[in-house]
Symmetry: C2
Subunit: 442 residues, 2 copies
Amino acid sequence: MIFNIPDSPLPRVVIIGAGFAGLNLARKLSKSNFQIVLLDKNNYHQFQPLFYQVAMAGLEPSSIAFPIRKIFQNKKNVFIRLTEVEEIDASQNEIITSLGRLKYDHLVISIGAKTNFFGNKKLEEKCLSMKSVSEALFLRNLILADYEKAISTTDYEKRQGLIDIVIVGGGPTGVEVAGALAEMKKYIIPKEYKELDFKEIDIYLVQGADCLLKGMSPKASEGAEKFLTKMGVKVIKSMRVTDFDGEYVHLADGSLIQAKKVIWAAGITGNRLKGLPDETLTYGKRLKVNRYNQVDGFSNIYAIGDIAYMEEEAYPKGHPQVAQVAIQQGKLLAKNLKSENANQPMKEFFYNDLGAMATIGRNRAVVDLPRFKFTGFFAWIVWLVVHLFSLIGVKNKLFVFINWVWNYFTYDQSLRLIIKPKIKKEFETDEVDENRKEKREQ
Amino acid sequence: MIFNIPDSPLPRVVIIGAGFAGLNLARKLSKSNFQIVLLDKNNYHQFQPLFYQVAMAGLEPSSIAFPIRKIFQNKKNVFIRLTEVEEIDASQNEIITSLGRLKYDHLVISIGAKTNFFGNKKLEEKCLSMKSVSEALFLRNLILADYEKAISTTDYEKRQGLIDIVIVGGGPTGVEVAGALAEMKKYIIPKEYKELDFKEIDIYLVQGADCLLKGMSPKASEGAEKFLTKMGVKVIKSMRVTDFDGEYVHLADGSLIQAKKVIWAAGITGNRLKGLPDETLTYGKRLKVNRYNQVDGFSNIYAIGDIAYMEEEAYPKGHPQVAQVAIQQGKLLAKNLKSENANQPMKEFFYNDLGAMATIGRNRAVVDLPRFKFTGFFAWIVWLVVHLFSLIGVKNKLFVFINWVWNYFTYDQSLRLIIKPKIKKEFETDEVDENRKEKREQ
């Protein structure tokens, strides 16, 4: 298998990763005079902010994942390949992938970040993360399967392990998951799992810092904690998780919590890509870039989004790793590449902070706008509207909207299905692995 | 893990399988004075007639699968367990499952049928079937992944293997899949896989009998063949598939078709359950029942749906294995159990044939009503309406309806996502296997 991309007189921009940064760049460039090669491991773009709703059976994966090919239908100069990039050979202006080598004129790294287990292999093995639709689906299946098992488990202690859940990390993901679990406990369990005593279900949220939603306003932090506590979530602040053996979570003060499911949402670290000099790596394994998103020491290699580390006057320690930064960097880089092509000067990046928000449950959210911070019902409406309009595709917007309205009035998400594609061993469906296998055999 | 079902003064009806037959029985009984134990391998009921649309990326699994617990919300006497029944111990009125033994007063077997490979292990290993949502999802992922691979495959022969598809069996499933694939080839490939020459894609439909849709009217058979041929499907009649080695399909006349994907839809055979005497098994591995659906030789063991074989005046060779028979038998059995409980006589089953239909593509279907047979646009509308109203749940109806309207006007199904839940090896998610494992360890 080879890349099979036609030669073209147009400069070739190779984009690695179709997240918010890479996708926005590709969309903006697709109408210009570039040959664009967009690479991703998946054939879809994922809308990260709603992963937790997939995990909580509130939305279908297809509502928040969008096929990349569909976005670039009929775009003659855009070539999409499902592959994983193994290495950059900057001396040759080439990338090395499972599909072989490919020349680039401009290389854009938008590979994002992954869950940070701080080097603890045991936590990495035993904990659940939620950095992809696939992981969210797995978590959903696991939660539902464990409720089923709990019904048939008479031993109290064993049952606790199956139904209690510990969430590590009190950022937006942790807060949103905790809120959604608390609602499932309240509205769904008594109706559908009547053999379970829903009062036995404990949801723990363990946060290292002394407040939730660190980085948002005190109003938001306090609001989130108040809402969650009211909903029965056990919020533990200023506490680190030191270990998890699959049965018990060990806290820094020596106490234990029994739970088989630990959701790890305690931070992210940059994805790795071989071939760039070590000096380009900085805090959080991010790539150091200048104000034009050029990677330190290179003029035709760029990094944008979560993987990029840029210092700006207002952000001397780099930007927050959020969707807005990625989107804005992707869009500016498109402009800058066009400018460069036209021998025009490039523009420096300035982050326009539109605010931050998190939802905790029905009618409850916290919103920090640059000049106005508020919590409660109105914040919740703002959260819904912003997320709805950020989704790609009219049909996705419509389906998510109907789902939300439905869930709101029925108090009931109806997607509690434990569905896994049946794997037939005769078939190798993972094209990435397949390529690797072929390569090894060569 | 144990069954954990409370003792009750009510007679206990144990239902194995929540397909059309078992589910309709359970719903009708749930308001009466029975304790109902409903067992299934999955936590959802699946709407078989639309599996092919899931496989063709036209519908999401959640639109045609419905969580069983949701159907019986707040029903105090209904107990749902995810388990596989291993054996019936009729002498003790007990079933043996991965959750242990369970006593029954009435036992209802509604375990349906599975794909029939006529004992050919190689075909079973290498071919794809479509008898569950999981299999349909797997097929979807495989088709899409193979298109991706084909783009990077320059060798003509190898590429043929990836993009050509052979469907074996010209019944409704085969016809509907062939039609849907032909539409994908025509409307989607040129827009999204521009590197592929869509004219290279061949879709073969191999039928053993001398006409498609055997069992329907000649008008329907001819209509289906005319439509499919017009859409470019290569229909091969009066031909058996003798072998498939993973690369080539061997036909009875010695000719070969190169294809890596063979969809096997050439018949079904009853699922097996140990513990019943051999004499109860008859044609197609179905269980012989009398007109009250009592299994031959038993007064408190019943079989309904695809697994049941009943001879009726109008059906001397048994009923067709279709949803309508299952639904009608489930409903009648509910009445009969109530009658028996009230010391009233039971009623004999008479099948009320409402007709048969199959859809071939946009605006194209064939419908046989008892007194009226027609094909084309009106048939297609009838097909849509009947299937829409047969779905469980208002939201499912709504979502399927929107999807269909959307696809109709955009010529574009937008669910072409290769999503698989990420499996974490540390976790054993398959509760059935888990139980088995525990059992072995005991």
